[in-house]
């Protein structure tokens, strides 16, 4: 009896709605959106600078320019050489990471609390005053071309590039992964011109989180970013939907002893009203260890180390893509099984028990994934701003999850997990698997991994 009240408390705690900690949002006169979120605990501070645009804003023939220009920000500024920048950063033990996504470029830096001023100065200097020295540009571009080659030695990583090109197609903003040819077209001039349009007030979001005093941090950030030219507001891309119909791309890697595959169909955008329900359904289908896919392909049959389904959540509708791998000889068996599981979801849906399990799972894992550290929280705020959402994205999450009925979950599963409009991308030893994979789609293309590019 003693433990009973304790358990009750605990269950109540699990179901309690989580909330974002306190933060402020302010738009500076030049358009820069500034968020401040104190999150004491460890004496570290984070700057997350987000520039709207990302991959969708790249000119098609200059694919990779968003990432390369971001990586070059630290390679020379109006007041620092690349070497000075690195020395200052490393001397403080700071971190400085850049990343790009379909809709933005992010610069994330982290410093000790005592280095707030110096860390802000360094971060802002990179974002606002890069000079893109010719020699650094040449070095970076040559390195990136070799990085594409190195990527092709890693089948698990490289299949994603082929997938983007094939699934979205060349006309789509997401369908032009950087390759050897597009990277080779990057020059100091086009990089500087591109960056000049990106790192401007109306496209920038600056999020400061961690062990900060919001008042003084706010003043310092306004001073650092308040003078940036406002530039033009960013016009989001508008793409036509992905072409339906079954098709298959086979990438030949003759030495592969394992086949890597993706089976995808058109999905949703980050703001689609079905997103909460789909998050639940997709987690059950392929988003956790006991998911239908992993259970069938790994646990029940031992065909693979892992099988999952990824639900893209970008500004434009993305893919819902099954991905797995298996030894060359069991390629057809594993792909057939994945299709069976997809069909089962579509036809039979999920049970009440599954739905209640996944609701608890999402609620139980969300705090460690999104709310524990200052950098996680900054990412949540960035998402809210970039996708035009509001704090209800976190504060109402649990009640939105609770509101999903079995009926709605199954209607959503039927709607989004079809068995017709499937895009297959398969990487492996073509001589051994060509015949067994051709049956999946009437439209078939093949490319060698040794050819430059990603099959575009």
């Amino acid at each position: 009896m003693k433990t009973f009240p304790l358990i009750l408390c605990a269950v109540a705690a699990l179901n309690a709605q989580v909330r974002l900690p306190k933060y402020t949002r302010e738009v500076l006169p030049n358009g820069v959106v500034v968020y401040l979120m104190p999150k004491p605990g460890v004496p570290l501070i984070n700057f997350l600078v987000v520039a709207k645009g990302g991959i969708e804003s790249e000119p098609r023939e200059l694919a990779g320019i968003a990432s390369v220009s971001a990586q070059l920000l630290r390679k020379g500024t109006a007041t620092r050489t690349a070497e000075q920048f690195s020395n200052e950063l490393d001397s403080m033990g700071g971190s400085f990471r850049v990343g790009d996504s379909e809709q933005d470029v992010t610069i994330a830096s982290e410093f000790l609390k005592k280095d707030f001023e110096a860390g802000l100065d360094l971060t802002a200097d990179a974002v606002l005053h890069p000079t893109f020295p010719e020699a650094e540009v040449k070095k970076m571009v040559a390195q990136q071309v070799d990085a594409v080659k190195s990527l092709k030695d890693n089948p698990q990583a490289v299949i994603g590039r082929y997938f983007d090109a094939y699934f979205y197609g060349a006309q789509h903003s997401y369908g032009h992964p950087a390759d050897e040819a597009s990277l080779a077209r990057l020059t100091r001039e086009n990089i500087a011109a591109y960056a000049k349009g990106v790192y401007v007030g109306k496209r920038l979001i600056v999020i400061v989180s961690g062990d900060i005093d919001p008042a003084s941090a706010g003043l310092a950030v306004k001073k650092a970013f308040g003078e940036v030219p406002s530039g033009g507001a960013y016009e989001w891309a508008k793409d036509a939907p992905v072409t339906p119909g079954r098709r298959l791309l086979l990438i030949d890697k003759p030495d592969a002893t394992q086949t890597y595959f993706r089976i995808a169909q058109p999905g949703i955008s980050r703001t689609n009203p079905d997103r909460t329900t789909l998050l639940l359904v997709n987690t059950l289908f392929g988003g956790r260890f006991t998911s239908m896919l992993n259970d069938e392909l790994r646990v029940n049959s031992g065909l693979t180390y892992g099988a999952r389904c990824v639900l893209d959540l970008n500004r434009e509708p993305g893919a819902i893509s099954i991905s797995s791998y298996t030894r060359t000889e069991t390629t057809g068996k594993a792909m057939d099984l994945a299709l069976d599981v997809l069909k089962r979801l579509n036809e039979k849906g999920i049970t009440a028990e599954q739905l209640s399990s996944v609701k608890a799972y999402i609620k139980g894992t969300y705090p460690t994934q999104s709310l524990e550290t200052a950098d996680q929280l900054a990412k949540v705020l960035a998402d809210i701003e970039v996708f035009g959402l509001n704090r209800g994205e976190v504060d109402d999450l649990f009640s939105r999850i609770d509101a999903v009925t079995l009926e709605r979950a199954n209607a959503t599963a039927r709607k989004w997990y079809g068995t017709e409009d499937l895009t297959f991308v398969v990487l492996g030893n073509a001589a051994k698997i060509r015949d067994s994979v051709k049956k999946y789609a009437p439209q078939f293309s093949e490319v060698s991994i040794k050819s430059p590019g990603f099959g575009q």
Partner: protein
Amino acid sequence: MKVLLATVLLAATALQAQPADVKTQTLANGLKILIQEDHNIPNVAMYFFYRIGSRNEKPGTTGVSHFFEHMMFNGAKKYGPKQFDNEMEKAGGNNNAYTSEDDTVYTDWFPSSALELMFDMEADRMQNLAFDPKIIESERGVVYSERRTSVDNNNTGILYEQLRAAAFTAHPYHWPVVGWPSDIESWTMDDLRAHYKTGYAPNNCVMVVVGDVTVERVMELAKRYLEPIPAEPPPPPVRTKEPEQLGERRVTVKKAAQLPIQLIAFHVPEAKNADSAVLDVIDAVLTSGQSSRLYRRLVDHDQSALDVRAFSEHSLDPGLYTFSITPRAGIDPARTEKTLYEEIALLQSAPLSAEELRKAKNQLLTQHYRQLKTIAGRANLLGIYEVFYGDYSKLYTFEQDIERVTAEDVQRVARKYFSEKNRTVATLIPEAGK
């Protein structure tokens, strides 16, 4: 002195806790428990460190520790096949596990409401694991798929396996954690039972709980669920010591590839050795950040490498310090190798400046704090310090251990270990026409 003092003070708060905040107790059956309360989020990280890994294996059953890591999720007495994961996910938790040369670690993350369930399930699999032949066969396929992904179809993975096999001739670090392919195909039920009996006894385990719990509640549950499990004789000690290396060893792997890869390793002492901290500083000096010596030289100045990394093993027995270089397209790996030796010679011949030493230490300290930001990070480090350094409280002297390192130490250690005789060089050469 001022700078130093400031850093020390900061670090103390960074850890969010002093050794005193970690409560420790050993159950009657020998299971050691470390608990740290943290109520930042309503979640818990509960880690089980079993002191058994590939170093405890024998030829013929290599990889069995790692295979066992998989089997621990395949059903026990009270919770049958799939139930560990099903029940855990239903209660809002998830998990993972990893195996190294030295230990096998089970990592549970869950809302605090699931604490008792986790004790019940962990106790069940610690004591009453099921050995179903059908499941064993299926799991063999899963593990082989993992090997195919991380070794056979991964150029760095396959080269690293060859490097270790050449660097260690006698000690069990010779074989890969995942196991040789023929062993994966042939270990038997008896091998698994023997491994479980000694490896998974409570006296061979350290449990770490960090997060939204109270010490009293954890101890109450530990006494109820874990204390009744009987102790067993521990795994036999690993007797074999790696003999001193008497000359450079070279191996090559020829494989279809666009770029070569180079791994260059030196034998270094075990984690507990005082030189470990010096090797950490050397790591930072040579490869941490774009101002590090090897990045500047190989990637930036010479443009002969796509990347360069170093990895200093902190292991129970003497391990390896490994440099990893990806030469650029068209660059002869002999050139990057020569450059590396020039930089090592420089480290051996000229002392670090005070600024460079300070920079390296600051990098190590902030990297250390970053690992302590999450309950999962802290649970992992507390367990690692307990198992590999013999005392979790050494986590809280990391700072002093690093601060103690001098420029002379760096020179001495670089000379002692980075010698030609102590070196193993593994190169992956892209095969022509493939």
